[in-house]
Amino acid sequence: MIETPGQTIGPFFGFALPYAGDSQLVPPGHPDAVQFSGLVLDGDGVAVPDALIEIWQPDAEGSVAARAGSLRRDGFTFTGWGRAATDNSGRYSFSTLRPGGEAPFIAVTVFARGLLHRLFTRAYLPGYPPDGLLSSLPENRRRTLVALEEGASLTFDIKLQGADETVFLRFDNSSD
């Protein structure tokens, strides 16, 4: 069957898609909570205040949670999924757990006004041996996929266009 094409999220999702607790995969007071945050920037380095970022990640042991309850969070269940709209300064922020695994990363989806179709990328934790994807990239592109870690914060800026453009991914064999 022919796939349904994507279309831009547009500027007016703010009353609909964000919801209370959307960006808190764990409560910020959780002993293992980390802040995963960054800026979304356009080709001029200007902040994108109308982007929506979603994350999907394994738990601290590297397992896929596969549990419901992301929209009405109970404060105890780690579902591995979250959503955050950027603020007026183009910043998104999640409260989450460090993902586990051999080359751990947080899978990221980017939507924005001006972006006709969603983008996928990965935010790797620093300090692990590079996996297949990272190894295949030249150094200047590889570093766009690695978060900066400082204490309990992981910083991952997303550059839609330009010199330090983030590597965006596709997983299929189509021309998409």
Partner: protein, 260 residues
């Protein structure tokens, strides 16, 4: 990377907006180039300059092909606790009934093999019957409707089906170019069985006279793919003295394989 001088993300009022004729000419030029190509493109072009806001927001590198890891071959899970019983009826969210043509939009979420995506989250949002969003940044002069928010969600059934009761949204103006109007549409947010099947799109109504003038609709260059975002009027979905009915199936991308 093609650029258009003087085009910012949101054109300041001092920037002269392009005419509809100029936008149509750009649309026709790109469409002509596509017809001569051979590879069908199932999704919109990211660098599609008739949609001015894409100029500084589209990546210039090709998407980088990689094998999906386990997390990318799975999808977030939603359950009944996430969705309220009235979330799929946008006409009962306030004290009174909203103004507008009452419609039901229904269909199935499927993969490219036609298998249903069961128990998965569908979210919709839209303008009211006058073409106005409740969003604070929508300054269109059309009235708000105190009885309409324009947001709904539901989980798909075992057969992948979803259904929303709502009112038909109106077309609305935007500042992409002079006299720019969006065809009436409902925004849809869809999850598949894998992270890579995540989709946000827009559903349009059949026969809309604004299709030819809209760069967002036209950014899908393949005609058969473009037809996929237009719903069908379905008299079987219409209900006696209740509402008219539209049917729209949504097909998410292939489940990714690992090609090692």
């Amino acid at each position: 990377m093609p650029t258009i001088p003087g085009v910012a993300n949101t054109p300041p009022s001092s920037v002269k907006l392009a005419s509809q004729e100029a936008i149509n000419a750009e649309i026709a030029l790109i469409a002509g180039g596509y017809e001569r190509g051979s590879q069908p493109e199932s999704h919109p072009r990211l660098d599609y300059l008739p949609y001015r806001s894409s100029a500084k927001r589209c990546p210039t590198n090709d998407l980088y092909r990689t094998d999906p890891e386990l997390i990318e071959r799975t999808a977030p899970v939603f359950g009944q606790q996430d969705v309220g019983p009235f979330d799929s009826d946008l006409t009962v969210q306030h004290l009174g009934a909203p103004i507008g043509e009452r419609i039901v939009v229904t269909g199935r979420v499927l993969d490219t093999d036609g298998r249903p995506i069961a128990g998965q989250l569908v979210e919709v949002w839209q303008a009211n019957a006058a073409g106005r969003y409740i969003h604070v940044r929508d300054q269109h002069q059309a009235p708000l409707d105190p009885n309409f928010t324009g947001f709904g969600r539901c989980l798909t059934g075992a057969d992948g089906s979803y259904s929303f009761t709502t009112v038909k949204p109106g077309p609305y103006p935007w500042r992409n170019h002079h006299n720019a109007w969006r065809p009436a549409h409902i925004h849809f947010s869809i999850f598949g069985r894998a992270f890579s099947q995540r989709l946000i799109t827009q559903m349009y109504f059949p026969g809309d006279p604004l299709f030819d003038y809209d760069p967002i609709f036209q950014s899908v260059l393949d005609r058969r793919s473009r037809e996929r975002i237009v719903a069908t009027y379905d008299h079987e979905v219409s209900s006696h003295e209740e509402h008219t009915g539209y049917r729209w199936d949504i097909v998410v991308g292939e489940t990714p394989m690992v090609n090692r």
